[in-house]
């Protein structure tokens, strides 16, 4: 288990919190709780309810979406400094993907109450947080577009459909 000071230091290295000043970051660090996962363990499944987002402190995880039977498509891998689960934090909708630990991992959990507290204590810090979040969202949206294109290309190649000459 890391101490609050360790967490503070770690948060400084996370892009999402880069623009948040020290004191506010300290408040945030105090409100985070740690969660450990063993390799292969499922943190949450697609369709689960929840209102927390997770920061990866160590280890790596796989974000996947059910395709058929026991098969899921890997949407992304996340490692130290990455975060996920933020959508449920805002819209309370069921989890859109399953998260499984690829290696032993330690996560920091940020829940709705902690975010509300940050917003209340320091609107400026909250604004910095949301700005970083939006920038990362945009990157992810672009990556999703690339993934859709890759999957489409895969489908075309795998079925042998010669679109260019037909």
């Amino acid at each position: 288990m890391g101490t609050s000071a360790d967490t503070h230091v770690f948060l400084r290295s996370v892009r999402l919190f880069r623009n948040i000043e020290g004191p506010e970051l300290g408040i945030l660090a105090d409100s985070l709780r740690e969660r450990a996962l063993k390799r292969g363990q499922v943190l949450l499944r697609e369709g689960d309810s929840g209102d927390e987002m997770f920061l990866v402190r160590s280890g790596s995880l796989v974000i996947s979406k059910a395709v058929t039977g026991r098969v899921e498509q890997v949407l992304a891998r996340v490692g130290p400094g990455d975060f996920f689960g933020e959508m449920a934090l805002f819209d309370r909708s069921p989890r859109s993907a399953t998260i499984s630990a690829d290696n032993d991992a330690v996560l920091l959990v940020l829940d709705r109450a902690a975010l509300a507290k940050l917003t209340e204590v320091s609107p400026r810090a909250a604004a910095a947080f949301f700005e970083s979040l939006v920038l990362i969202f945009i990157e992810r949206l672009r990556a999703s577009g690339d993934l859709v294109a890759e999957v489409t290309r895969w489908g075309l190649e795998a079925t042998g459909l010669d679109v260019e000459t037909r």
Binding site: G40, Q73, E150, T159, R166
Partner: protein
């Protein structure tokens, strides 16, 4: 890093997470390529004798359905009109890509699911085999713009279409069986075969110390001699297939086809359709598989006896000795199941084990292990897979080493 302007496009890959059965939260990550092999594979429906197709009367105008029956397993499938069209394309010569194109031309649209769905359905009903195109063909296809590659590909394609065969061979095989072929399936034939094997082996042992003098009979053109030995051997493959057919007659089954073709476009071979034997007993299947290979044992022994009798250092002796070795080698290869080739011995093995897809499953399992996939729970089946791949790999290596040694020794 940016790709070079003329570099071939990178093949798309999907990363999939596959949950393990009965292992709680365990999973494997698999990188799946866009299936070059899938695109270029040529699904082959089973022989015409192994299925029946009947149209289902429908009261709805324009709606036609078909019942496809696997006569070997008595499984039934319901096919739609488009699925029946695809089924007809699956002749083992048409790639999935061409089938998809044919489908588009016929129906003016393409359903991405219909072909994989149909393939899965047919495979489950044991009505289909997937024959991947060789790597050589893949390489030629990639370099089609080069005239030499295009010519080679065209030549292979043309050879592949060479198929001299007849489906009206039952009377022919019955005639041979009646006029003496039945003798091959008597106890006396088994005794003669065993005696010849012993005598032929003894002849080989006696010739072995003089091997250098024996092969010196090839004179100055040993390579040409070896090629002529191989060509003569090809004819005996016809005899091998003939005996398979006679075994079918012996067990009251039907020989549906006998012919000659170029396997993979460049391996000349005879073949016989023995699928009707699947309706027979296991003993019938084993005898059918083994009897063909025994042709090589008998001929090998005869050739070695000829070599022993021939003048030392003569061409006849060298030719006979080489033919004898090749025949015995063919006997071993045909009956030895551990060589990644689905020949007679392999079919006997999978029949006994009850795992018809042993080679495919074993290669897939061991390939996964080599790519770092975590092994499933250790079971008799997984042990079998690993054992099959290890023994086969060692066997193929030994076989290649033996042949290299033989050629080097002969030349």
């Amino acid at each position: 890093m940016a790709e070079a302007p003329h570099a071939p496009p990178r093949r798309a890959r999907l990363e999939l997470l596959v949950r393990r059965e009965d292992e709680g939260d365990g999973f494997e990550l698999r990188q799946i390529g866009s299936g070059v092999a899938f695109v270029q594979s040529r699904p082959q429906r089973v022989a015409a004798s192994s299925f029946e197709l009947a149209e289902v009367a429908s009261k709805v105008d324009g709606q036609h359905s078909f019942i496809l029956k696997n006569t070997a397993t008595d499984r039934f499938l319901l096919l739609s009109g488009p699925e029946r069209f695809l089924w007809e394309q699956m002749d083992g010569r048409t790639s999935l890509q061409d089938i998809a194109t044919a489908y588009v031309l016929r129906y003016g649209e393409f359903d991405f699911e219909i072909i994989p769905h149909l393939i899965r359905k047919l495979q489950r009903a044991q009505l289909l085999t997937m024959a991947p195109t060789s790597r050589l063909r893949q390489a030629l296809a990639r370099n089609r713009r080069q005239p030499v590659a295009k010519m080679a590909e065209s030549a292979l394609f043309a050879l592949e279409r060479v198929n001299i065969s007849s489906r009206n061979v039952q009377p022919f095989f019955r005639g041979i069986y009646r006029w003496g072929g039945f003798l091959l399936f008597t106890r006396a034939a088994v005794v003669v075969c065993a005696l010849l094997a012993v005598v032929g082996f003894a002849a080989g042992v006696r010739l072995w110390p003089d091997a250098e003098r024996v092969v010196s009979g090839f004179g100055k053109s040993p390579l040409m001699a070896v090629i002529s030995v191989k060509l003569l051997f090809l004819l005996t493959v016809g005899a091998h297939q003939l005996v398979h057919g006679l075994a079918l007659i012996h067990y009251g089954r039907r020989v549906r086809e006998f012919g000659f073709t170029f396997l993979h476009g460049f391996v000349p071979t005879f073949y016989v359709d023995v699928t009707d034997i699947f309706m027979g007993s296991r003993k019938a299947r084993v005898v059918t598989a083994v009897s063909g290979a025994l042709v090589h044992l008998v001929l090998g022994s005869v050739w070695l006896l000829v070599a022993l009798r021939a003048p030392m250092g003569s061409f006849l002796q060298a030719f006979a000795a080489a033919s004898g070795i090749i025949q015995w080698q063919a006997f071993v290869v045909a009956l030895y199941p551990f060589c990644f080739i689905e020949m007679d011995g392999y079919h006997v093995l999978v029949d006994v084990l009850g795992i018809p897809t042993l080679k495919h499953d074993a290669i897939g399992y061991v390939g996964g292990l080599l790519r770092g996939r975590r092994p499933r729970r250790f079971t008799r089946e997984t042990a079998l897979f690993v054992g099959y791949v290890v023994v086969s790999t060692l066997s193929v290596a030994a076989f290649i080493a033996f042949n290299v040694w033989l050629i080097v020794h002969a030349t």
